[in-house]
Amino acid sequence: MKLVWFTLSLVLVGCSGDKPVPQSSASKISFRDVAADVGLDFTHVNGASGKFYMPEIMGAGAALIDYDNDGDLDVFFVQGGSVEDPSSGPGNRFFRNELIPGGQLRFTDITRTAGLDHRGYGMGAATGDFDNDGHMDLLVTNYGANVLYRNRGNGAFEDVTAQSPAIRKADTWSSSASFFDYDRDGWQDLVILTYVDFTLKNHQQCKTAAGEADYCTPVVYRPVPARLFHNEKGRFVDVTTRAGLDRAKGPGLGVQAIDANQDGWLDLFVANDTAANHLWINQKNGTFLEKALELGTAFAEDGLPRAGMGVAAGDYNQDGRDDLLVLNLMREGATLFRSEAAGYRDVSMATRIHALTFAYTGFGAGWLDVDNDGWLDLFLAHGAVTQREEQRGQSAPFKERNLLLRNNAGAGFSDISDQAGETMQLAEITRGAAFGDVNNDGRVDVLITNNGGRARLLLNESAGAAGLSIAFPGVGFGLGVRVGLEREDAVPTLWRRVHTDGSYASASSPVVYFGAGGMKAKRFVIEWPDGSRTEQPAALGRTVVRSVHKR
């Protein structure tokens, strides 16, 4: 039965809706790590065995998820352990945010009571409401069997993998995943990327140019196709072959559901490592066709593949289309594909993205308007996968700085990391990055995970007024909804999509944030997955649109 989205109610949080947001491009930008101060005590264990098993250098991600619908974001960390004996690892961890009702940002470890104390060799997390009960559910991807958790809505999750056994697949290495409704039936489907066919049995020993043992690149293993699961009223059925997703294989690491051809149906972009990226165009009949080469996202402008890892879709140039950023290997530079009428154009060099990112290996990534000027800036998480020459002899010679790049009104980017606080100067092996407003101050914070190191919560303490946000609590949490912010004075409408996917192996908050760029915000235009359109007055603070659908 066709499901219809509609607005149930509107709650405005905050006030001063008629005041213009101050222009803040010159504002002080600051991110500060508060993880230790607020009880987020998590250290990733990569299980580095000296045998250089490839999964050791690839994990792991995290999720920002409001599991109890109390209005603040809780934190889930994916843990590693031993590649040789995954079940012996320390296990994943889950922390409840006590901000509401406690009034203070503080986290409590509730892993066991929440039923999330699974032990495996973890890679990533994805969030969605797959059973349409208005509680955010969780998928954990592993080197080994994946685990699907249903949020029971009573403070605990239950492992329901057995009800969707195809998800489990113990003999694969899964990376990122995304919940998205590809057939518009109102039930969130699921795509899980599988990386390469590495196993302990076929493990290869690779070396640096100097002959030292090192982690391999994915080319020594075979790529494995992504797997697509159709949601049949809360149970997932593997439809990979039926949907055509096994027609192209790739070592996939980053995935985001986007509407690449603006036809209202969600397509899939997959960043592949050392191979052509995939752009699966939704044929509106349950099948997909791979069109990356035709639409310009397979390769960088020189026609060569890059080592694609993290991905972030966002409208950096305010033209109403989501552009695609793909993070690659050191000495390749990230690739920014600008969406145009006839596909995508690689604008990495012209925007200086290439030059700014050339020295780094990128994983987590997200678009966020740090200075609330209306232009989406970038947070990029970095960490090498093979030894960095200048760190030779160190215990983990893979450390790199993360970057914060300011969007210069769509004309290009500049590095503002040095002005963004001490935390941004650290060199670590960052993998996951999840984005969301953890302390409800109207600014997007960043949760990052470090391979073999401590996780950090980078609180956005930038000066200047907060922006606007819009949330869709309730059934489905609005995933896939497109929101436009109309402002006075005929400036372009700013468009964002509600999503939790993208980045690398991590899940972000589904709340959408806007900086109004000093303009008076007028209204939100909401494009629902069924094609209908509604409007809401826009106000500073958070607008809440509660959404349900008819069955």
């Binding site: 140019a209 075979r222 035709e294 402008e301 020189d302 026609g303 012209a350 030059a355 050339f358 020295a359």
Partner: protein, 420 residues
């Protein structure tokens, strides 16, 4: 590398020794360390014209584009007619995002040497729309197998709605993606010459092969197996290099050595299978492709090649299954569609045959007349005289356009029969 480091340590004020260290470091992708050596060498001997260029190259390779500009400009000032230096300067400006300066340098290159394909390609990269397309097209006129230019021109054609031409270019690009035109660069030759590691030499050999220098590629690979006789990749490459150089016995020996070292390398069996096909050793070719498919069942080219060999034996059901598997992996595999169409036609399944031939027609090129001819033939057998005539007439026109006079005559004859 150790020798070079010791040499420079023993004589830190000897510019030649320091340059030697820089060359060796650069040859092994140690760009940051190489740039330190080149900087010191430039200070010790400012008269050496190569040093600022090499410093610029090392800095650019390390992503320090802004820093690389000054030494590259200095190098250019001392050798203004050296295309390689201006090309590196232009490429570095492009990578650093300085569009105006990039265009100026590529334009200067084109003005100085209108036959430099790399300069036209660069000018295209720094331009947009029609200007970009014109530059890429010129680069391809000068060097038709220029993979990056094929890709770039296809991208521009796609944006302009010229989808058929774009598809054709992308098809060529799949074949030529690593092919680049050679640019004379004496300073960088010194760098390449210092990477005498086997993997470095293989990389050099692959570059020479892409540039069309088969003899050079062969010589480098022979050097590799002399130094490292257990490097299976070199033997695998040699199968193809010997075969294409008309040295069948050596190709056989290379295959023997490759599988002895790495019995599960599908590409060894694949390369030798192609050699056997060219030598019309069909039974051997089949064995090779069977083995390659067993080792790597997800390779559409291997499945297609095996299909072609099996089709020759008359085992059409097996061949059909192989082509179908190739198409499942690579849906736009034109040759597989054509062969599958032929099998359906042979089985008198004309509807299916027509559908397959239809998918093999585009992009329009020298292969299209045969596909159109086959399509017309099965349409005639389906009793669709009008559409058959249209297909055959189009086949005839395309055959004439591509200079295929014999094929055009055959089509003419069949058109006559259709008329009766």
């Amino acid at each position: 590398m150790e020798n070079a480091a010791q040499g420079a340590s023993a004589a830190p004020n000897d510019a030649a020794k320091v340059i030697e260290l820089g060359l060796v470091l650069e040859a092994h992708d140690q760009h940051a360390a190489a740039s330190v050596a080149f900087r010191r060498a430039a200070a010790l001997d400012p008269s050496n014209p190569d040093t600022p260029y090499l410093l610029g190259v090392a800095l650019a390779a390390d992503g320090k584009y802004a820093e690389a500009i000054e030494p590259l400009r200095r190098a250019l000032a001392s050798a203004p007619r050296t295309a390689a230096i201006r090309l590196k300067l232009a490429d570095t400006l492009l990578a650093g995002g300085d569009a105006d300066a990039t265009r100026r340098e590529y334009r200067a290159l084109v003005d100085a040497d209108a036959k430099l394909a790399a300069a036209h390609y660069g000018l295209g990269r720094a331009s947009t729309g029609h200007d970009a397309a014109a530059s890429f097209a010129r680069a391809l006129e000068l060097f038709p197998r220029y993979g990056a230019a094929q890709f770039a021109l296809a991208t521009e054609y796609r944006r302009a709605g010229r989808t058929v031409e774009a598809a054709q270019l992308l098809q060529n690009y799949q074949r030529d993606k690593m092919v680049t035109p050679p640019v004379e660069d004496a300073a960088m030759e010194k760098v390449y010459a210092r990477n005498v590691s086997s993997t470095g030499l293989i990389r050099r050999g692959q570059i020479l092969e892409r540039e069309g220098d088969l003899a050079g590629a062969l010589a480098v690979h022979q050097q590799v197996v002399k130094n490292s006789p257990k490097l299976d990749q070199a033997w695998v490459n040699l199968i193809s290099l010997y075969a294409r150089s008309g040295q069948p016995l050596q190709a056989e020996e290379a295959f023997r050595r490759a599988v002895e070292l790495a019995p599960n390398r599908a590409d060894a069996y694949y390369n030798f299978g192609v050699f056997c096909v060219n030598a019309e050793r069909w039974a051997d070719a089949r064995k090779m492709f069977e083995k390659a498919v067993a080792l790597d069942p997800g390779n559409p080219e291997t499945l297609y090649n095996l299909g072609v060999v099996v089709e020759r034996t008359g085992a059409l059901a097996r061949a059909r299954a192989l082509f179908q598997r190739a198409l499942a992996l690579k849906p736009h595999y034109r040759q597989a569609h054509f062969h599958l169409g032929r099998i359906y036609a042979n089985e008198r399944n004309y509807e299916q045959a027509a559908a397959e031939f239809q998918q093999a027609i585009e992009p329009i090129d020298a292969e299209s007349p045969a596909c159109l001819y086959a399509l017309g033939a099965v349409q005639a057998r389906l009793g669709r005289t009008q559409t058959a005539r249209q297909s055959l007439e189009r086949a005839r026109a395309e055959a004439m356009r591509f200079g295929q006079s014999q094929l055009a005559a055959s089509i003419e004859r069949d058109l006559g029969v259709l008329g009766r």
